[in-house]
């Protein structure tokens, strides 16, 4: 009620003035358009400012003319839409300010039905600064994204580097180290070299020799090799796991190049020697490949440009890495050289580690071996000492027994001779004689077992020993109807042996053979043979042979199949052969004779325990 009263009190023009003030001072341009004709019927001050034209020019013009030519169709469409839908809101149009400036705008349209005629009310907001802001924002965002990508790449590079470093430093095997370094230099996307070769220094000849290489030798090989690289392999470990040098590059021609590489380390002025001398990477750029000091290496690698970096630690020099872009012919970038140097440093440390480790391992092995040998020798010495004591006691006892035994045997023989005619007593006396003979044989062999003169190791011709023994026993064997044939190799190498002991072994074997064939007669043959590591002497007979159960016990002490055997001949023979670092073996079967083979090593027994065993 109150306002109605106020309204009536105010004049209409007052109200119109007030509205005009408000409309003129809103920050958006306001344009009233006659809906049926599309002509502008009113604008506010802000619109005049936006279009830089006066009201008198703007009013009466078609609405579409407020827009640039190319947008007028769109503007007409927006006007129609406003008529049709009563409301539109868009910001895809520009206002055409004088003389021809485009100003980005936000446009809202509203249909107002006033009874007499429909009017379209458009408000136009200048959003040029807004647009610019968005543009700036977008540009900033793009820059940020680019930086982020760079950063991520850098992080990847660094983590790969860390990985390579860790991997290299944890590797003890030189081959593995070289593999990882070569891979790091040539395989990943970040490394700029197509091919790399490592030459290691041989201090003995002061020469660098090609040791390992990686990378294709030409485009054809690159087409074969590069697709084999697992593109999914994100880390070097995966890369290393999927493409091992030995598998991937086994056939690669880079190996042929590696095989041909040999450089003197100290003499000359090629990039290799310069890198060594100057302790730093030498890069040969394209335009320097023709220089005399560079031409040789460039030609060898078939490139115009390459880089050589030394592998060295503070104290030692190990070799060089030579890297190039032989396939892509790309320029060697400073970043690539930097990476190469990083890996060269890592590799040097790893090689130093590996060498130290190897040296350490070798020392440990030597020490362990020495320790083992010491233990072994100590055991042998103890045993030898024990044996020596037993031997001395046995010898003493044996000698003490021999005197009474000689008396018993002598008198028994005398008796047997005299009683020969009295049959029964003579037979009994003969039994005493036989038993004493057995005891005497036992004593002789027992003494042979325990009492040995100081061993004299001499270069011995086994053939000669065999001939001597055969001659020595000739009569004895002949009287038993046994013949001896010698089949000795002419070029038998001499062995280091205790000649007398070997004689004793042969005598034992020949007597055994004789006894095996006693009565029936037969043939013995002594043959010799030189093997790669041993010289063999075999005594075979045509006797009745032996069953396995006898063979199994042949070398046991005091085992005998002979009535008058001591059972010590073969055990002593085996002991003698073992003292020679060899052995004695037997092959026989019933009815097929027997063959005993003496095996002598071709090198002299080196241990001292053989000597000490007889002291």
């Amino acid at each position: 009620m109150c306002s109605e009263t106020a309204m009536t009190q105010d004049t209409r023009s007052d109200i119109a003035q007030r509205y005009q003030f408000v409309v003129d001072n809103v920050s958006d341009a306001v344009v009233l358009v006659d809906a049926p004709t599309g002509a502008v019927i009113e604008v506010n001050r802000t619109a005049e400012a936006l279009y830089r034209q006066g009201r008198n020019v703007l009013v009466g013009r078609p609405f579409a003319e407020l827009f640039p030519h190319e947008q007028r169709e769109m503007a007409s469409l927006r006007m129609q839409e406003t008529r049709q839908y009563s409301y539109i809101d868009c910001d895809d149009l520009d206002a055409l300010a004088l003389p021809s400036a485009h100003v980005a705008i936000h446009l809202t349209g509203r249909l107002i039905r006033t009874g007499a005629q429909d009017v379209l009310l458009f408000t136009i907001r200048n959003i040029a600064s807004h647009r610019a802001l968005i543009g700036n924002l977008l540009a900033t965002q793009n820059a940020l994204i680019k930086n982020q990508i760079k950063l991520e790449n850098r992080i990847r590079e660094l983590s790969a580097l860390t990985e390579v470093t860790t991997r290299i430093l944890n590797t003890r095997d030189l081959d593995d180290i070289l593999d990882v370094v070569l891979m790091a230099v040539t395989l990943g996307t970040m490394w700029a070299f197509n091919r790399a070769v490592i030459c290691l220094h041989d201090p003995a000849t002061d020469t660098l020799r090609g040791t390992a290489g990686m990378g294709p030798s030409d485009g054809t090989e690159a087409e074969e090799l590069w697709p084999m690289l697992n593109p999914q392999a994100a880390t070097l470990s995966e890369l290393v796991a999927t493409c091992h040098r030995s598998q991937m590059f086994a056939e690669a021609r880079v190996n042929r190049l590696v095989a041909t590489l040999a450089f003197p380390a100290s003499e000359g002025n090629s990039p290799v020697q310069r890198a060594i001398r100057e302790h730093q990477t030498v890069v040969v750029p394209d335009d320097a490949c023709a220089l005399p000091e560079n031409a040789g290496l460039c030609e060898q690698f078939g490139v115009r440009s390459l880089a050589v970096t030394p592998l060295m630690s503070a104290s030692s020099f190990y070799g060089v890495i030579i890297a190039d872009n032989n396939v892509t012919r790309a320029t060697i970038l400073p970043e690539a050289v930097e990476q190469l140097e990083v890996f060269a440093r890592q590799a040097s440390m790893a090689i130093e580690n590996a060498q130290l480790y190897r040296r350490l391992q070798r020392s440990i092995d030597d020490l362990s071996a020495a320790n083992e040998e010491l233990k072994l020798n100590r055991d042998k010495l103890l045993k030898a000492e024990r044996l020596s004591t037993i031997g001395r006691v046995t010898a003493q006892v044996a000698h003490e027994i021999r005197n009474p035994l000689t008396a018993i045997g002598g008198f028994a023989r005398n008796l047997a001779r005299k009683l020969g005619r009295q049959e029964e007593l003579g037979r009994l006396a003969n039994i005493i004689v036989e038993e004493v003979d057995r005891l005497e044989l036992l004593l002789t062999e027992l003494l042979g077992y325990t009492r040995r003169s100081q061993p004299r190791w001499v270069e011995t011709d086994l053939g000669e020993v065999a001939r001597d023994v055969a001659r020595m026993l000739h009569d004895e064997l002949k009287s038993a109807g046994v013949s001896v044939a010698l089949d000795l190799a002419g070029d038998l190498p001499p062995v280091t042996a205790q000649r007398e002991h070997v004689e004793q072994v042969l005598i034992n074997l020949l007597r055994n053979a004789k006894q095996a064939m006693d009565g029936a007669g037969g043939a013995i043959s002594i043959s010799s043979r030189a093997e790669q590591t041993a010289v063999q002497l075999t005594v075979s007979d045509t006797g009745p042979g032996m069953p396995q159960e006898v063979i199994d016990r042949l070398f046991e002490g005091f085992f005998t199949t002979k009535r008058d055997g001591s059972g010590l001949g073969l055990p002593i023979s085996r002991q003698i052969m073992q003292e020679h670092g060899g052995d004695i073996s037997v092959s026989s079967s019933p009815g097929a004779g027997a063959a005993f083979t003496l095996h002598f090593p071709r090198t002299a027994p080196t241990s001292i325990e053989t000597a000490s065993a007889h002291r």
Partner: protein, 125 residues
């Protein structure tokens, strides 16, 4: 005349055995038990051969061997008859005319004595 044989052996039973066996072989066997007694016997008259044990009480048989061999041609042949076979390889072994290991079978000893007496010039008579 029977060849005179000096037997130096401290074991009485062995002495008796040698005396019996060599007596039966036709020798004039004289047994002594010590080196000292052997020296006296050698001084008393020449021998065709000496059968010498090594381990003797008081003085080693090897000393006597040395003394006999120092006389050169004036000495007589010596057969070492010992329980130890080692003497064969020793200096004494080289000095003696024969070295045999003691055995109840005296055949080898008898053969050896016979052989060296026949090959050695008889002592100055």
């Amino acid at each position: 005349m029977k060849p005179r044989l000096l037997i130096v052996e401290d074991e009485p039973h062995l002495c008796e055995l040698y005396a019996l066996e060599f007596g039966e072989e036709g020798y004039d066997a004289l047994c002594v038990h010590t080196v000292a007694a052997a020296r006296e016997a050698l001084a008393a008259g020449p021998c065709a051969a000496v059968i010498l044990d090594v381990q003797l009480p008081g003085c080693s048989g090897l000393e006597l061997l040395d003394e006999i061999k120092q006389k050169g041609a004036a000495g007589c042949p010596v057969v070492l008859f010992s329980a130890y076979a080692t003497h064969r390889e020793s200096r004494a072994g080289q000095l003696a005319d024969a070295v045999l290991t003691k055995s109840g079978n005296l055949t080898e000893l008898k053969d050896t004595v016979k052989r060296i007496i026949s090959t050695t010039a008889p002592p100055a008579a």
